[in-house]
């Protein structure tokens, strides 16, 4: 496979994952905003931070408001990570690697783009927003479904998976990076409603409320939440889960190429060093420091993959 094709597949799936993650953030933010007793726009700053586009937002706006934040995250062309920009970038990459995709996958991503472009040509009315978000999620699911059902299990699939899980790990780590303080014991006042809202925000933004309840019951405990998001290998958006998948797919690539790559060793080392502790050890080390280090590791892993598989000249 061409190095450029690997690059295109990796980014196509990173951007698709990103589009989904940002949609989830918007839905979470909207949900929290609408169910609070007094309206407040304070929740949107951390949302923008989590999306990695707070600085970009501030460069274009004077203050953070709900409607502007939603528009920025959802459809702004000035925001390269907005849902619409991400879907457009995924589709652009898909065009570039068209020959590596099946007809079904291409059609799914192309129609996701055409639909999103049409729906987001103007700001959706407040009452249309849930429908729009719903449609975007369905379109993304269609791409994922056709990918699972039709894509060849060779290098093509490996790069698709690596892109997906690297982006997902990065997203989960960012959520923890921005919200770590609400999980710290010092802030923990027993079961206050503020805390409950904050904890719920975290779980919602990784679509994990149901999963969490199933595993831990309906009593929120910050330590359980941290464990669930970082170490629980059954949770498909946890850091441990994503890193394990990346390591596995890098392993497949290594056997295709006949030798273990630098990036495999790096993924393996990251997995061993960060994902084999228990949650108490992580809190002792410092939750924030831990998350920051993991974010650095993920970025380094991305760079090493680019080099190992000749993404660029």
């Amino acid at each position: 496979m061409l190095g450029r094709t690997a690059n295109g597949l990796y980014w196509m799936y990173r951007y698709l994952e990103r589009a989904e993650n940002i949609s989830r953030l918007i839905e979470t933010g909207q949900r929290i905003a609408l169910t609070r007793l007094q309206a407040s726009d304070g929740e949107w700053t951390p949302m923008l931070q989590t999306a990695g586009s707070y600085a970009g937002y501030c460069a274009h706006h004077d203050s953070v408001t709900r409607t502007e934040a939603i528009d920025w995250l959802l459809r702004s062309a000035d925001n390269p990570s907005s849902v619409l920009s991400s879907i457009a970038a995924a589709r652009q990459n898909a065009r570039m690697v068209r020959t590596a995709l099946t007809h079904e996958v291409w059609e799914a991503v192309n129609s996701a783009y055409l639909t999103a472009k049409e729906m987001l040509a103007r700001r959706p009315a407040e009452r249309d927003l849930p429908g729009v978000m719903n449609e975007i999620r369905r379109r993304a699911a269609l791409v994922r479904g056709t990918t699972d059902g039709t894509l060849l299990r060779n290098e093509i699939y490996d790069f698709a998976r690596i892109g997906t899980f690297l982006e997902r790990a990065d997203n989960t780590a960012r959520i923890l990076d921005v919200k770590y303080y609400v999980l710290l014991p010092s802030v923990r006042s027993v079961g206050s409603s503020i805390d409950n809202v904050q904890w719920e925000t975290i779980l919602r933004s990784v679509s994990a409320r149901g999963g969490f309840r199933m595993e831990y019951g309906n009593q929120y405990d910050p330590r359980d939440i941290a464990h669930f998001l970082i170490l629980d290998k059954r949770m498909p958006r946890s850091l441990a889960f994503c890193l394990a998948k990346i390591r596995t797919n890098l392993g497949y690539l290594s056997s295709t190429h006949g030798a273990r790559s630098e990036s495999w060793h790096l993924a393996d080392a990251t997995d061993r060093r960060f994902m084999t502790h228990d949650i108490d050890a992580i809190f002792d080390f410092g939750l924030h420091e831990f998350v920051e280090e993991v974010i650095g590791q993920i970025a380094g892993l991305g760079r090493q993959i680019e080099i190992d598989y000749r993404f660029y000249e």
């Binding site: 061409l2 190095g3 450029r4 065009r95 020959t99 007809h103 291409w106 192309n110 055409l114």
Partner: protein, 474 residues
């Protein structure tokens, strides 16, 4: 153009239903216009989803547009097609012989059949190719021959596209769309298959691999990239052939071979189907600004390390000034009379011709010698006084830059409009594959249709559409 002199492929000249359209007519009469309109929209949706688009130059960046598709097929009888292909084969054989001659001994110039300055002073003549014989001796692996029809068995060649002819993906996708939308039509009519084109293309390309290639030559398609107007087609062909779609940035010369950067390192390419113009192919040998090509590929090519399809320098054969000599070229190399007619052409570089052209401008079509895509041409009968005056001064300023031809009474084919079937002018571009073991022409080709009533311009860049082209089994 006089209406009554126009040949309609369904109704002939006198309004009698022609045989190839009989079954179609019966079917069409039983369909409701409303349903057909729905089908027309369905077809457009299919094209949009598949992403069969082209980028329009000079417009907003990355704007992708659909070429309008007309659901009424153009139908050609088997025997008509057979006669036509004999003429095409003869012409393509002559073109390859001409190219070999012109880059070697130049016998045709010595024999005085073409003036030497037509070659020497022609920008399309590539000195780098002098003395080079491509692997398999083939220069034009893929040719698109633009034909127009004026009567039952009257076809004229409008131009030969011997560089990088495009549009074959439309031939295939149009058929695919028709099969999906009107399966019953294919049960009633026995339509010859065009679907094997990608397989044939790959086989033809592989058959021309250089000696250094192994048993299974590595073929790749070279594209300028996703912003090129024909990118969809490049990806489509690579996908259908099961080969890599590469860009200049993927390639470099490694150990005397052109190699592509894969995830496992550089791998040599044996045959490169390039959709990049000569000038951009090699920044070392041609345009140094080009970022679309491969530095040094011409040197590898001349050393026999890669096959480039089509060969560099084939433009000399489809140059519009050379076109006018095509009857001589066919006779010179095949020893036969040309089976396919050329449109009579006045070379404005010749004073007598120029005088004639200036006197009869309102009856003629004037084209730029190196132009394409329907740009920079004048259609006398429909031109305004202002346009005529403009072209008069252009012709006087640079006569050598133009040729002129009579306006042909292009045939019409029924096309689906709001008011039902209506005649619209068409042309036809069959695609010709040339391999050492012979010439293959998939039965059909691309029919381009001028959707505007009375218009003669079929180019997609100027409001033309396409149709599925059927060649029936006899």
């Amino acid at each position: 153009m006089e209406k009554d002199t126009t040949f309609d492929e369904m109704w002939g000249r006198d309004g009698t239903l022609r045989p190839p359209y009989q079954d179609f007519k019966t079917w069409f009469d039983g369909e409701s216009p409303a349903q057909l309109r729905a089908k027309q929209r369905e077809a457009e949706e299919l094209f949009r989803l598949t992403g069969i688009t082209f980028n329009v130059y000079g417009r907003e960046a990355a704007e992708e547009r659909l070429i309008p598709f007309d659901i009424v097929p153009r139908i050609i009888a088997g025997r008509e097609w057979q006669r036509l292909t004999r003429g095409i084969e003869q012409r393509i054989r002559a073109i390859n012989a001409f190219l070999h001659d012109i880059y070697h001994r130049q016998e045709i110039l010595k024999a005085g059949r073409i003036p030497a300055e037509m070659i020497a002073r022609n920008e399309a003549f590539l000195p780098h190719m002098i003395g080079v014989t491509p692997p398999g001796g083939i220069y034009t692996h893929i040719v698109g021959v633009d034909l127009v029809r004026t009567g039952d068995d009257e076809f004229f060649v409008l131009e030969d596209n011997a560089r990088t002819p495009s549009g074959v993906s439309y031939m295939l996708e149009n058929r695919e769309t028709m099969l999906q939308m009107f399966p019953e039509l294919f049960v009633q009519n026995r339509v010859q298959r065009v679907e094997s084109y990608p397989t044939d293309l790959r086989r033809s390309l592989a058959a021309c691999a250089p000696d250094c290639a192994g048993d299974k030559p590595t073929v790749a398609v070279l594209t300028p990239g996703i912003f090129n107007s024909a990118y969809y087609e490049h990806a489509f062909l690579a996908d259908q052939m099961g080969v890599e779609l590469v860009e200049g940035s993927d390639l470099r010369v490694v150990d005397g071979r052109v190699a592509m950067r894969t995830t496992g390192g550089y791998e040599p390419i044996d045959v490169l189907y390039r959709r990049v113009d000569d000038d951009f192919l090699d920044p070392l040998n041609f345009n140094p600004e080009s970022r679309l090509g491969v530095a040094g590929i011409m040197d590898v090519y001349r050393a026999g390390g890669i096959t480039i399809a089509n060969a560099p320098g084939t433009g000399i054969a489809d140059d519009k000034a050379i076109y006018s000599y095509m009857p001589e070229i066919v006779e010179f190399y095949t020893g036969e009379r040309p089976l396919l007619q050329n449109v009579p052409t006045w070379r404005c570089s010749e004073p007598d011709s120029l005088a004639y052209v200036l006197d009869n401008l309102e009856d003629l079509v004037v084209k730029e010698v190196h132009g394409s895509g329907g740009y920079g041409m004048l259609i006398g009968p429909t031109a305004s006084k202002k346009e005529l005056a403009l072209f008069r001064s252009k012709l006087k300023a640079r006569p050598g830059n133009y040729i002129a031809q009579p306006t042909l009474a292009l045939s019409t084919v029924p096309t689906f409009t709001r008011a039902g079937l209506a005649p619209r002018h068409v042309d036809l571009r069959p695609y010709v594959l040339v391999a050492p073991d012979g010439i293959r022409i998939p039965p059909g080709g691309l029919t381009r249709v001028a959707l505007k009533k009375g218009s003669l311009v079929v180019n997609s860049s100027q409001g033309g559409g396409t149709k599925d082209t059927w060649v029936l089994e006899d």
